[in-house]
């Protein structure tokens, strides 16, 4: 009898302890604080990191971009391939960083470990279990989870966290204030545009232009942010979708934002697209893509400069007060570590289709 009681009491005790630990580890999302070499990452895990961080690796593209912006010299490699076109406005020394083959599921962890990083980052969307599994593969190298790195509205949190973790607080504050500045500039005007006057926008992907991302996708956030309406309102999916030419004619967008140069170069001569309002009005624009995409591909801190660009694309008259030329220069030299000449800025902006900037 007594034995039974002891067993039951101790069982209850164990359950309470485990339960408390579980709740503590799963609900302690008290964002990133460093104490005695421990940092709590954005997934709420408490991770021990070395006092000096000189080598950083990342498993996710959007986090790699943020690291490149804050601490390029500490980056040990790229997580995915970079093309010659993308490398146009990137210093040679960063172009030459090795490709490590990232992606959470198919990263080669040996490659990562061979670079001997002090810390590895993984981007948005993993569960605690997933991250712990990845941590096992990395052994003693601390893995930190970043959240919000792929969503224009939550970028500042992820930038702030990276600044804390990398000891680059000054740079992260600078980037966040640049972000706040362009966002407020655009928002103050775009929020006043009545629905009836909003431009209707189609985002054309790939060389056919018949693929897009619908409203509500993180890939097309800049459209809504700049006071546009994404014509693709499809309840079915948030990923890439295919649409028919007929559907585009029916939507008849005022503006087309294109990601593919070959589509952009052919659209004005392609007979099928001639009757789309955007083509008739010469309102097709090509997203700049070097060193990182301005609009999405994928979404992340690289689209901060896309906020004023998209605003200018949609409403050149309403956003006359934005000096995109200077913003671009400032952004490139401060965060992409590349000093653009006047000609280069002009080139980037005019080949995107903008008339005034």
């Amino acid at each position: 009898m007594n034995n039974k009681k002891i067993v039951i009491i101790s069982l209850i005790g164990i359950i309470v302890v485990i339960g408390t630990l579980y709740v503590y580890t799963h609900y302690n999302t008290d964002n990133s604080s460093i104490s005695e070499g421990h940092i709590s990452d954005m997934g709420g895990r408490s991770v021990q990191i070395p006092p000096q961080i000189n080598k950083i690796a990342s498993l996710s593209y959007s986090v790699t971009v943020e690291i490149y912006m804050l601490a390029p010299d500490k980056l040990v490699g790229w997580d995915s391939n970079r093309t010659t076109a993308e490398n146009l406005y990137m210093p040679i020394k960063y172009q030459n960083l090795p490709i490590m083959g990232g992606g959470k599921k198919d990263a080669n962890y040996e490659t990562y470990l061979s670079k001997d990083p002090d810390v590895v980052f993984v981007g948005h969307g993993g569960s605690i279990d997933d991250i712990n599994k990845l941590q096992e593969k990395l052994g003693s190298v601390p893995l930190l989870d970043v959240e919000g790195d792929n969503n224009i509205t939550s970028l500042p949190e992820s930038i702030k966290f990276l600044g804390t973790a990398l000891g680059e607080n000054e740079k992260s504050i600078e980037l966040i204030s640049f972000y706040d500045n362009v966002l407020n500039k655009v928002n103050s005007t775009s929020s006043t545009i009545p629905d009836t006057e909003k431009k209707r926008v189609y985002y054309a992907r790939d060389s056919t232009g018949l693929m897009t991302n619908p409203e509500g996708s993180t890939h097309t956030q800049l459209i809504e942010l700049s006071g546009g309406i994404n014509v693709a309102q499809v309840p079915l999916t948030k990923g890439s979708i295919g649409v028919s030419m007929e559907q585009i004619l029916d939507w008849n967008p005022d503006v087309i934002i294109a990601s593919d140069p070959s589509f952009y170069n052919n659209v004005y001569s392609n007979p099928l697209w001639q009757n789309v309002k955007a083509v008739k009005d010469k309102q097709v624009y090509l997203v700049p893509n070097s060193p990182f995409n301005w609009f999405e591909g994928p979404p992340g801190a690289n689209t901060i400069i896309g906020i004023p660009w998209t605003a200018k694309v949609l409403y050149p008259d309403k956003f006359k007060d934005i000096d995109l030329k200077n913003l671009t220069k400032e952004y490139y030299s401060n965060f992409y570590h590349f000093n653009l000449t006047d000609d280069q800025v002009y080139n980037i902006l005019s080949s995107s289709g903008l008339k005034e900037f």
């Binding site: 995915s80 018949l210 693709a232 649409v243 099928l272 591909g297």
Partner: protein, 342 residues
């Protein structure tokens, strides 16, 4: 059975009767689509193209009817017919209802050709040509590979085909793996799922030539397929050069399939299901089986493509629809049909 005999005897009239629904669907297809055009306007637009009457058709409507719907309608019929007739001829050639031209590696080869072209960011036309050439190349490899073995039989050919098919399947997977996940990968995946969304008149003309030639050849030699399907030895005693005939059929079917795949990606099931349906209606005689397969295939894919382009504001990939509709239909047929091979 007696009904089927009657049908077989009246092959001409059966073919004629089956054409009627195809013609009706052909005209209805011009009225279907995401861009709203009243039927009357479609009628006026088409009539004004044929006769010099003064009609007030907006340029957008003209584009929709003649540049978007028309190429798609013809492409769907052409591809459906090509895949079906190739399937029927192959099933006869191998005397096996489960063989389709894919089995020699043509589809996987074409898929790899397209993926490769997408990887180097080529335009639509180049993707199509690359798919066509790689599809043909894959079967050529299969064919010559099987010729190197002694005692060549059709079985060896199919076995080599399966090997080549999986080899190119691996190459497709590899190209997906190295593709840029944000731009090229979705394009490759969409292409492989099959769609006629980006077909234009130019592409249609390019593939219509090989498809029409391939179909004509099969139609011209269709009675010899009957001899072949008795078995090789019997055919040889009847004085048919079986090796040459087999080669002609394989080349024609491969060209048909590669051309189809090159324009619209990978569309399964049609080459398998339609010949079965045709056989259920008219029996195993290739003289009538092939024309009926052509008509039914054109009808079926046209119907599927109408659903694909008009049901939702999103394009539904053809490969998905043909399998979702084709597979249950196929199983239903298996239940219905007693052996129709003899």
């Amino acid at each position: 059975m007696s009904l089927r005999k009657k049908i077989a005897e009246n092959s001409i009239s059966v073919t004629f009767i089956l054409i009627i629904p195809l013609v009706i669907l052909f005209f209805i297809s011009f009225l279907i689509g995401r861009y709203p055009i009243p039927p009357y306007e479609v009628f006026i637009a088409i009539v004004s193209k044929l006769f010099p009457i003064n009609a007030n058709v907006s340029p957008s409507m003209n584009t929709v009817i003649f540049e978007i719907r028309l190429p798609r309608i013809f492409a769907a019929m052409l591809v459906g017919a090509a895949l079906s007739v190739a399937g029927a001829a192959f099933q006869g050639l191998f005397r096996n209802p489960l063989v389709s031209p894919d089995k020699l590696g043509v589809t996987a080869g074409a898929g790899f050709g397209a993926a490769l072209a997408i990887l180097i960011s080529a335009g639509a036309l180049f993707i199509q040509i690359s798919a066509l050439l790689w599809g043909l190349l894959a079967v050529t490899i299969t064919y010559f590979l099987s010729r190197t073995f002694k005692g060549t039989s059709m079985l060896t050919l199919v076995l080599c085909g399966i090997a080549i098919e999986s080899f190119f399947g691996a190459l497709i997977a590899l190209s997906k793996y190295v593709a840029d996940p944000y731009e090229q990968l979705p394009t490759i995946v969409f292409w492989l799922m099959g769609s006629l969304a980006s077909v234009n008149i130019q592409q249609l003309l390019i593939v219509s030539i090989p498809i029409l030639i391939g179909m004509t050849i099969l139609i011209l030699i269709r009675w010899r397929l009957n001899v072949l399907s008795m078995g090789e030895e019997e055919a040889q005693t009847l004085g048919v050069n079986t090796g040459r005939l087999q080669a002609i059929v394989i080349v024609s079917c491969t060209v048909l399939t590669a051309s189809s795949v090159s324009i619209c990606g990978i569309i399964g099931w049609i080459g398998l299901v339609i010949p079965h349906v045709a056989r259920m209606i008219v029996g195993p005689d290739h003289k009538i089986l092939l024309p009926v397969s052509i008509i039914l295939g054109a009808f079926f894919l046209l119907l599927i493509d109408d659903i694909s382009r008009a049901l939702l504001s999103v394009e539904i990939p053809l490969g998905i629809l043909t399998a979702i509709i084709g597979a249950p239909f196929f199983i239903y047929l298996l239940g219905k049909s007693k052996e129709v091979w003899s």
